[in-house]
Symmetry: C2
Subunit: 454 residues, 2 copies
């Protein structure tokens, strides 16, 4: 749901410099990683992603995104990602170029059991090492198929062959082991393309190997905001100098809000924690009511925690969002403790019959009106017997708009014990995004009520 438009306010404290620092400093310790880790001189790794499907427009290379993020948390900056097809020449040339720039390369994809998967052979050939059968991998493959009560195909057993001078990365999530090759101070890790397996082996084998041990510490924080467009947010915040002296700031806008990503660098975790905390305080001071979540939190997880803490319950009455608000609320495990019931009242009759909205109100003001939004929320709260109810009624588009009620016109109401409030929005013309915008705004209005800001 988040667009991938990123707007870096400014790079601070370090300058990415991919072409230089290719070799560790003279007299550096044995570890490739540590040797390159000087203050604010971020070590470099590269990724070579292999797979025809990545070049055909069928799938995006999300494995690299995951690996980049994980390495960065460990103080390692990926300098380049090269995406190539299942082609020996292409794999070889991308690997060769990557190793001419950096000492840590992660290759993903092409380790499967079909004849298109050539990555293992290409790399064994590149490092001049024969393939030998690894008994432990063979045993894991046999167990994998036994568990599924299926015979072991020959093609699968071929996956037990690993490079003699490499190290197998045992994979208990699938049949293809990962691989690790070393040449002098250079290391190449090879991971299967299946995301779950690639993520598993990254955590199990690569991250422990590159654990930060040098003099550079890095800490990140994501702040999730909604309710302000990007330019309005930074205009409200004012000059960013003080903020940027503490942390590197990336501002990531989408139709659901702006994510603010902070990165602090320092000598140790005390220093980075202090910087993150100070930066967050600066942002909180101005934007507090717009910041709804941090790091792994979501709007619905924050709402769930608020409702559980208060021992309160909620119901929804959705028209144009069609169920999206209920879907989001129930994505949280244990949401049955506070989410009791919802109504998808798409037709006017449903609003009247199921929620007790006065038919005359619909007749007089139309289904998309403040009056009907309020009546829907109050009706849902009463019918469900909950503490809170949220309602949405709007014109999602692309059709159904009029001169006075354009496409995108949306009313959102929250009914509580003591009051009902309503907000009016006019969203741009894009049906799916308008549904998402409306659901986000509705959940946020409930949040503001729960924390007492409405």
């Amino acid at each position: 749901m988040w667009s991938n438009q990123a707007y870096l306010i400014a790079p601070v404290q370090y300058k990415q410099d991919f072409a230089k620092n290719r070799t560790p400093a003279p007299g550096a310790p044995a570890s490739v990683i540590d040797s390159m880790k000087n203050k604010y001189d971020i070590p470099q790794a590269e990724i070579v992603a292999v797979g025809n499907e990545l070049l055909n427009g069928l799938v995006s290379d999300t494995n690299s995104t995951f690996i980049c993020g994980q390495l960065r948390m460990h103080g390692l900056q990926v300098g380049r990602i090269s995406v190539v097809g299942d082609d020996a020449d292409a794999i070889r040339s991308a690997l060769d170029q990557a190793l001419s720039r950096v000492d840590l390369v992660i290759v993903t994809g092409g380790l499967g059991a079909t004849h298109d998967d050539i990555t293992k052979d290409v790399l064994a050939d590149y490092f001049g090492t024969p393939l030998v059968r690894d008994p432990k991998v063979e045993e894991m493959i046999r167990v994998f198929f036994e568990k599924r009560q299926r015979p072991v195909p020959d093609a699968a057993l071929r996956q037990a062959e690993v490079p003699k001078d490499g190290r197998p990365l045992y994979n208990d999530q699938g049949t293809a082991p990962g691989l690790m090759f070393e040449r002098g101070e250079q290391r190449v890790y090879v991971l299967p393309g299946v995301p779950r397996e690639a993520e598993h082996l990254t955590r199990q084998y690569i991250l422990p190997d590159v654990a930060p041990a040098g003099n550079l510490c890095l800490q990140q924080r994501m702040l999730w905001t909604t309710g302000l467009v990007e330019s309005a947010l930074w205009e409200m915040f004012g000059p960013v100098d003080e903020l940027e002296n503490l942390v590197q700031v990336a501002s990531l806008p989408s139709h659901l809000g702006v994510r603010i990503h902070l990165t602090a660098y320092g000598e140790n975790v005390e220093e980075t924690s202090a910087k993150i905390e100070q930066a967050e305080t600066l942002l909180e001071k101005v934007l507090s009511s717009y910041i709804y979540a941090r790091d792994e939190q979501t709007m619905e997880s924050v709402l769930g925690q608020l409702l559980v803490d208060r021992g309160e319950t909620v119901a929804v009455a959705e028209s144009c969002t069609g169920g999206l608000i209920g879907h989001r609320l129930t994505n949280i495990p244990g949401s049955s403790r506070y989410f009791l019931q919802g109504w998808l009242t798409y037709s006017n009759e449903a609003k009247v019959k199921s929620l007790g909205v006065d038919a005359a109100l619909v007749e007089r003001h139309g289904a998309v009106s403040e009056e009907v939004a309020r009546a829907m929320a109050e009706g849902a709260r009463q019918c469900a017997g909950t503490d809170w109810a949220v309602s949405v009624t709007g014109i999602a588009g692309p059709d159904g708009g009029t001169a006075t009620k354009p496409v995108g016109l949306t009313y959102i109401a929250v009914a509580g014990k003591t009051l009902t409030s309503c907000q009016k929005f006019v969203f741009p013309q894009d049906r799916l995004r308008n549904k998402e915008r409306a659901a986000q705004a509705a959940l946020n209005l409930l949040r503001l009520h729960l924390i007492g800001l409405k």
Copy 2:
């Protein structure tokens, strides 16, 4: 929702060969593209994606996925994607390497108005051309801000500077124009990183320039299946030789089903159409009831068309899916013609009170049972007065399972005029995916009823 695991059954009819064919054949026509277009010798392009955010784990490079897919539809194969940061040396070296392999390079990102956006300067420098202000771009930028009733910032006006020896790609979706550089037979297009703008300029400027005109024709078809895991699907289909003699086949599994992607190559559109049609017939013969959509269709668009054609209506009664089925049905413009109403009956009380499910039934069989699923569907159909109703009740997890009713146990029912049918599923343990699986299975069960296969 689709995983990015791709499993190429076999490449047929052409062999990707990135390292060779770097230069057009001698005596080739002026057009770079056409000159490289020999039978099954797919022309090559490359992408250089620029942006620190692409290397930080914050966002995936979906622009490249879009461009790859669009170029492929026009007979052009992208041979490599190089993702680099906002760094002059890195951009220059990636571009240089790409132009040593292919004659068409598309650069994305780094055209914004902030000081991190250096792509335009780097490329102007690379091609040795100064920047000059383009009056049309300047006018478009002024209009852009006037419409928003905001003064034009100086930084935005700097975007009106375009390379003297390049061509601006006028961008009416944002303030940064795209650019096109030519050097001999080589072309470099530069697009903004904002996905909407990159897509718009790709369609408006790049695709017309590379329109197929040679002796190679390519045609694609996506068939969407659900209800069979990948291995079962291909086992049921049997030997693939005949299929692969016609088309290249890629099988893309996810938890919602398997997508089958077909690519036909030929001399002309008659040949490729015939191959696609024959291949589809082979697949339809065995898998017809599992194939629910083709190409741009979705499950919900297919259902919408079926309901409109029959003049029938539907209601939903959702428990564990929490609104996802209603959300999906209402993603289709005009769905108010057939989707009248839904109930999110998360609590037992809601099932009894709103849908008229017999409390004794819930007491005796439990809320997650075939009996309750049937009663929910029949109750929803009756309350809403629709032709059809779909219900889901299940244990989404991760908690709430018992020995006899494990996490993932889900009952799905469809009630129609003449009968109610129910299916039982036990999905694996992953809350969000189980909700998605259940919604998909519920919509598919409705589809099977509508086409008379249930």
